[in-house]
Each structure stands twice: as C-alpha cells, then as structure tokens.
Amino acid sequence: MLSELLKHPRALLLSFLFHAVIIGLMVVNLSFVDRPKQIWAGQLAKTVQAEMVDSKQLEDREKQKRLEAERKAAEKKKKQLEAKKLADKKKRDAELKRKKEEQKKAELKRKKQAEEKRKKEAAEKKRKADEKRKADTKRKAEEKRKADEKRKAEAASKAEAARVAEAARKVEEARIAEEKRKAEEARAAEEKRKAEEARLAEEERKRAEAEDRRRAEEEQRRKEEELRARMEAEENQRRLNTLREAYILAIRQKVQRNWRRPAGSEKMPLCEVLVEQGPGGIILNVDFGACDGSTTTYRASIENAVYKAEPLPKPGDPKLFEREINFLFNPSIQ
C-alpha cells in the first residue's frame, strides 16, 4: 500500500496539508475557552499533606505559641517604660538651657530696634522737602504741553474730514463699476450655458440615433445567423433522414434478396420485422411486430432470410447505427 501511495506524492502531500490545516484550526480557534483554574495533581497533593496533621498535636502547638507570645509582650512593655523615663530627664535639661539663651537674644534685639528708628525719622524729613520741589516744576511743564496738544488736534480733525469725503466718493464709484461688470458677466455666462445645453441635447440625440441604428443592425444580424443555423440544422437533418431511409432500404432489400418463397400458396401479408444487431452488422435477434394472418412457415422463411443477410449493410453515417432496426417486409417485391 505504501508503495502505491509513494507513486502519488501529490495525494500524500494534500493529505498532510489537510491535517495540518485542521490541527492549526484547532490550535488557533478551539483552545478550550473559559476553563476554570486548573489544579495539577502534584500541587494539590502538597496542600493536602499539609492539612493532614493530627488535630491534637495542632492544639498543643497552638497553646505553646500563645504562651510564648504573651511572655514576649510583657518583656517588651517593661523595656518601653525604662526608655521613657530616661527620655523625660533629658528633655527637662534641654528646656532650661534653651530659655536662658532666648533671654539674651531678646535684649540684643531691643537695642538694635531703637537705633533703626532714629535713622528712619531723619531720612523721612529730607525726602518730603525734595518731593515738594519736584511737584512744582512738573505742574508747569504739564500746562504748556496741554496747550500744544489742543492746537494740533484742531488741524488734524480738519484734514481728516476732507480725506473721509474723498474716500467715500471713490468707494461709491468702484461699487457702481463692479455692479456693471457683474451684470455683464452674468449675461455672458447665461448665453454660454444655453449654448452648451443645446450642444449636449444635440449630442444626446445623435448618440441615441446611433445606438438605435446599431441595435437594429445587431438584431438583423442575429436573426440572419439564427436563420442560417436553423437552415443548416434542417439541411443536416434532411441529409440524415435520407441516409437513414437509404440505410433501412438497403437492409430491407438485402433481406428480400435472400428470401425464398416457401412452398404452398398460403397468405403472405406485409410483416413488420424487428432486428437486433451488434457491431459490424451481426444479427443478435429477430422478432416480428404487426404481422396479421401469417403462418409459422412464412415467418420462419423471413427469419431465415434475415440471418442469410448477415452482416447487415453499414449506414452512410456511423451516427445512424442503431442496435434495433425495424422495417416492413413486403413479399411481393423481389
């Protein structure tokens, strides 16, 4: 079996690919979703072992632990008390020292402040005298500046009025010109649009006409082709029909040539003969269809004639060959 499969490596390859795809799909898509947290056997065994301690032993151990803890707590408290006493004494000493120092510092500070106050008062007196002088000069200069400004402002306002009037005139002129231009443009655009529409309509009409013409031509051509095909098929059919008639006729004639009129003058009607033939015109079976009023000897003579006619003639076209042939045997023609 393997040797035959090795002769078809394509099949093996396809099969491999198929399996790879299926496994790939399983790995990518079918990984088991939402599975609860896994507990693996080893892990679990450990936890279980831990729980398996004797309960009495567990209590003893628990008690011992508690006693130990109490003892430790008492010790710790004692230590804390001692430490606190020591710390208090240290604190008191430090407080005394600090107070003495503060007193010294306050004395120094008071002296310094008195000195500073004296200095400040002298400076203030001098500053006030200066300020008065400066204010006088400043007031005079201000008056002069205001008069100047008033003069200048009057001249400027006159010039401004003239300029504004001029600008307004200019703007108006520009507006009128613009409106005119716009109207002109709109008219031109309208004309252009109309021309374009007319052109498009014309084109559309032409295109539709061409389409109609083309369709009509196609229709015509199709009809012609159909007609020709039909005629050809008919022609072919006619040819086959005539060939078939000729084929049946040839068989009938050959059979009738081989027929010998049986002795006696019985009734010899027309007989329908069914012949089953094999390749090469070999006769496989002979049967009779409508054959009213015939005698056995008559039918035997016909059957004999058919077998003598073997091999039966070939048809003009191999397509016409049929396994079963039936024809009308007419004793009066020989």
């Binding site: 198929f18 399996h19 790995v27 088991f32 056997a41 065994a45 729980e51 073997e310 048809p315 060959f321």
Partner: protein
C-alpha cells in the same frame, strides 16, 4: 500550566497516550491520501467504461476497434482491456483452426481473466480503509483507558480525592478517543462509497463480457 490549548494538553499526556495519538494521526493521513488516489482511479474507470461502451455500440467494425486499441501506446484498462484480451484470444483461436465453440470459450476465459485483473486493481488497498475505519476507534479507546488508568493511579497516595485532581488527566486521555473517531469516520464513509461504486463497475464489466461473448458466438458462424 495555565495555557490550556489542545497542544499543551497533548504535550502533557503520558508517553503511551502520545504514541497512540501519533499512530492515529499517521493512519488518518494515510487513509486520506488513499481516498484521494482511489477516488481518482474509480472516476477514471467510470469515464473509460462510458466512453468505450459508446464506441463499441457505435457500429464500428470489431476488428477496426481492435486495431485502433492496439495502436495506442498507453496501458489499457477497464472495458478496453477486457475487450482487447477477448478479441485477441478469439482471433488466435480461429487462426489455429480451432472449432468455433472452442474459440468462443477460450475468448470467454481470457476475458474472465482480464476482468479479474481489473477488479483486483479496483479493489486494491480498499481493505486498508476498512481496517482504519474499524480499528482506530479501539486504538483511541486504548489510549484513553491508559490515560485514565494513570490519572487514577496518581490518586492512590491521596486521602482526600477530588474531581479536580483527575479531571485534567481524563481530559487529556479523551483526546485519544476523539482522534480515533476522527480517523475512523471518513475512512468508513469512503470505504462504503468505494465498495458500492466498485460493485457497480463489476456488474457493468460482467454485462459487457456476456454481451460480447454472444456477439463472438454469432460471428464465429460466419465463414472465415
């Protein structure tokens, strides 16, 4: 261990279970390849039989048909082979001036032999599919049983057993059964289809053989 894809499950399985899975995978690959080959061959034979019957009954002269066939280079199979063997034997017997009935009988015999050969080629390898179809579920079951056995044995040293302890092991082991079924189902379907197709082909060959013998019998009565 939190990654619970199929692959990790397989990788975690014990060695015998893994071996079983590998075996089943191999069987599946081989059976699919075989199905492909067989399907192609049966299709080809059916087409050939149809084609040849059409030609045989088209009224062509038998000796013309025979010479056409013997001119072809490639190997002949199916109805062509049966026809060729029978006709060659018949011609040889007539040349040897054997009696007519003897000639027909020897041709018949030759055709029987050719037909047996054709049927053998058609049925070749089909038992493999049948074997895969019937055995691989058992093989898969074996893997599963083994895996379950091991996961129960792991429970032996534990006093408080929970379902969670055995479940992963059983799940691993069940993959083997799934694979066995996956390998078996297509193989069984293919086996049934192929054997019914082949039966139809055999009937067709036998019919042709008998018909052709009849024709030879008739032809033997015409003068040489």
């Amino acid at each position: 261990m939190n990654d619970d894809s199929l692959l990790t499950l397989i990788a975690n399985a014990s060695v015998p279970v893994q071996l079983v899975m590998l075996l089943l995978l191999g069987a599946s690959v081989l059976s699919w390849a075989l199905m492909y080959v067989k399907h192609g061959y049966i299709r080809q034979s059916q087409a050939e039989a149809r084609n040849f019957e059409g030609r045989f009954w088209s009224g062509l002269n038998l000796s013309d048909l025979f010479s056409q066939l013997s001119q072809r280079q490639e190997r002949r199979f199916g109805l062509e082979a049966i026809f060729e063997n029978g006709f060659r034997e018949f011609a040889r017997a007539r040349k040897a001036e054997l009696e007519n009935s003897e000639a027909v009988r020897s041709a018949h015999r030759a055709m029987k032999v050719a037909m047996a050969r054709e049927i053998e080629i058609l049925e070749n390898n089909l038992p493999f599919l049948a074997t895969v179809g019937s055995v691989s579920p058992y093989v898969g079951l074996f893997g599963t049983v083994w895996g379950i056995m091991e996961s129960f044995r792991a429970l032996a040293g534990v006093q408080q057993a929970t379902l969670a302890m055995v479940a992963p092991g059983i799940s691993e082991a069940l993959i083997a059964t799934a694979m066995g079924l996956l390998a078996a189902i297509p193989a069984v379907v293919a086996y049934n289809k192929f054997s019914s197709d082949i039966d139809i082909m055999i009937v067709r060959y036998e019919n042709f053989l008998e018909e052709f013998t009849g024709i030879l019998q008739r032809q033997s009565h015409t003068p040489r």
